[in-house]
């Protein structure tokens, strides 16, 4: 059975740029030289935009969504155990099934297992800091991890990132491709962060903050946070077959 429905050849709704940080956000200094300055060219969708890669269960390992175990060599990683879960849906509220969700993060001390990260905090020998999963038939995903720590970064002298998990999501068409970051409810660093503050719409930025979800916590084991992700929706009118011209 195909996991892509008849709706999946419809065009995407125009992207609402008001929910995204503009390319040029000078308080996030790296954006200054890396931001295009010319207007983006608006493009009506063709097959090139409404299609996109598909992924199968054979590509995902059994422990890929368990960051507590997927790099554990001679013990468990240090830090607060937690569950992160949510639903990937589109702007129309439809769950997006069997789409690839990838996530990566620093360890409990705020250090990444990356050859370019030289922060003082130690590498955790039992923590890799990355994972991935496919959403289920309703668009739900879940993974276990260690709550990441905040870390300093070279922007202003005293810049600290709030604790966060990076997310990469596909959707069913390449125009839905999205990378974002999830923050944790109650973190005082969130509203000091130039990446969060780069989002022009406060309500949109708040949607990056995952609430504590006690109903999904496992008593005596771990807390849970819920993070729903919304990708672009498709037009609701019946498609008139202009896309492929036949």
């Amino acid at each position: 059975m195909e996991t892509v429905t008849d709706d999946d050849h419809r065009e995407f709704l125009q992207r609402d740029r008001g929910v995204h940080p503009p390319a040029f956000t000078p308080d996030y200094k790296t954006s200054v030289l890396r931001s295009p300055r010319r207007a983006l060219l608006s493009l009506q969708n063709s097959l090139s935009e409404v299609t996109g890669p598909t992924f199968g269960h054979s590509e995902i390992g059994e422990l890929d969504n368990d960051l507590i175990r997927n790099y554990a060599h001679d013990g468990q990683p240090i830090g607060e155990r937690c569950i992160v879960h949510g639903r990937v849906r589109d702007e129309n509220g439809r769950g997006i099934p069997q789409t690839l969700v990838e996530f990566w993060q620093a360890n409990a001390g705020g250090r990444y297992r990356h050859r370019n990260d030289h922060y003082l905090a130690p590498i955790d020998p039992n923590f890799g800091g990355c994972g991935r999963t496919l959403t289920d038939a309703q668009g739900n995903y879940v993974f276990r991890t260690i709550k990441p720590g905040p870390y300093p970064w070279r922007n202003f002298l005293n810049s600290w990132r709030p604790a966060h998990i990076h997310f990469s999501v596909f959707g069913s068409g390449f125009a839905q491709r999205l990378i974002t970051q999830m923050y944790f409810e109650g973190d005082p660093l969130i509203w000091r962060d130039p990446m969060v503050l780069g989002i022009p719409d406060r309500a949109a930025a708040e949607r990056l903050i995952a609430p504590l979800d006690m109903n999904a916590a496992i008593p005596l084991d771990m807390l849970a946070y819920r993070f729903d992700i919304t990708l672009r929706g498709r037009q609701s009118t019946v498609f008139e077959n202009k896309l492929q011209g036949n």
Binding site: E2, V4, F12, R15, D16, R17, V19, H20, P22, A23, T25, S31, V32, L33, S35, P36, R37, L40, L41, S42, L43, N45, S46, L47, S48, E49, T51, G52, P53, S58, G61, Y71, R89, D90, N92, G93, W104, Y112, R113, H114, R115, N116, D117, G128, H166, S168, F174, A175, R177, L178, I179, T180, Q181, M195, I199, A204, L208, Q244, G245, N246
Partner: protein, 210 residues
């Protein structure tokens, strides 16, 4: 009063991929091995139909420096011009079981060079049946890029198809069309297409709001 429209949601805001994007998407480049299956820059394996090619280039910032921590994904049609996706119902174009059409790569931390090994795509039928010249769809993320950039790569030896391409023709300033056209070279008998992408400046690449 009127009937309410069905409830809608707003898209989740984009955030930069940051300097450590490799951990999540290509962990081997971050310096460790964790997954059994790794995604790579091989878009088409040796059994795929079509002309094997390499596509390579660098991404430059506004100061003319190569961006050494960029991650690029490619999405393309097969040699017959068909996407490996069920919504592609173009008549008369076969799917290729050896061809996925998607890959990802990180630029080299020293040189900023990135490349994909693939086959040259065919012509895809565009809107209203207007043929689109062979092209790759590219998506670019990095530290300092707040929302992934969408662009296309066309081929220098497809002059006639490029001249008729409905997307290239949308670009008003003809000189800017060149920012999307990769230059063909031949190395060891294989076609290599080179495209440098400029995030900013005189030669700024055309990026799309798709």
């Amino acid at each position: 009063m009127v009937q309410p429209l069905p409830e809608t949601f707003r898209e989740t805001p984009s955030q930069t991929a940051g300097p450590y994007v490799h951990i999540g998407l290509i962990p081997q480049q971050a310096g460790f091995d964790i997954f059994e299956t790794n995604f790579s820059n091989v878009v088409a394996g040796p059994d795929a139909t079509g002309e094997p090619i390499r596509v390579e280039g660098r991404v430059f910032d506004g100061a003319g420096e190569p961006v050494r921590d960029v991650l690029i994904e490619v999405w393309q049609a097969n040699a017959a011009g068909r996407y490996a996706h069920p919504a592609d119902r173009q008549p008369g174009k076969e799917a290729d079981p050896h061809f996925r059409g998607w890959g990802r790569t990180g630029s080299d931390f020293e040189t900023g060079l990135w490349f994909f090994d693939t086959v040259k795509p065919g012509i895809v039928s565009g809107r209203h049946g207007r043929p689109m010249a062979p092209h790759l769809n590219l998506w670019i993320v990095a530290r300092g890029i707040n929302t992934g950039l969408q662009t296309r790569l066309y081929f220098s030896d497809e002059e006639a198809a490029n001249a008729a391409d409905p997307v290239l023709n949308l670009i008003e300033q003809k000189s800017r069309r060149q920012t999307l056209i990769a230059r063909r070279e031949t190395r060891d008998g294989r076609g290599v297409y080179v495209l440098d992408i400029h995030l900013q400046g005189e030669a700024e690449t055309v990026f799309f709001d798709v």
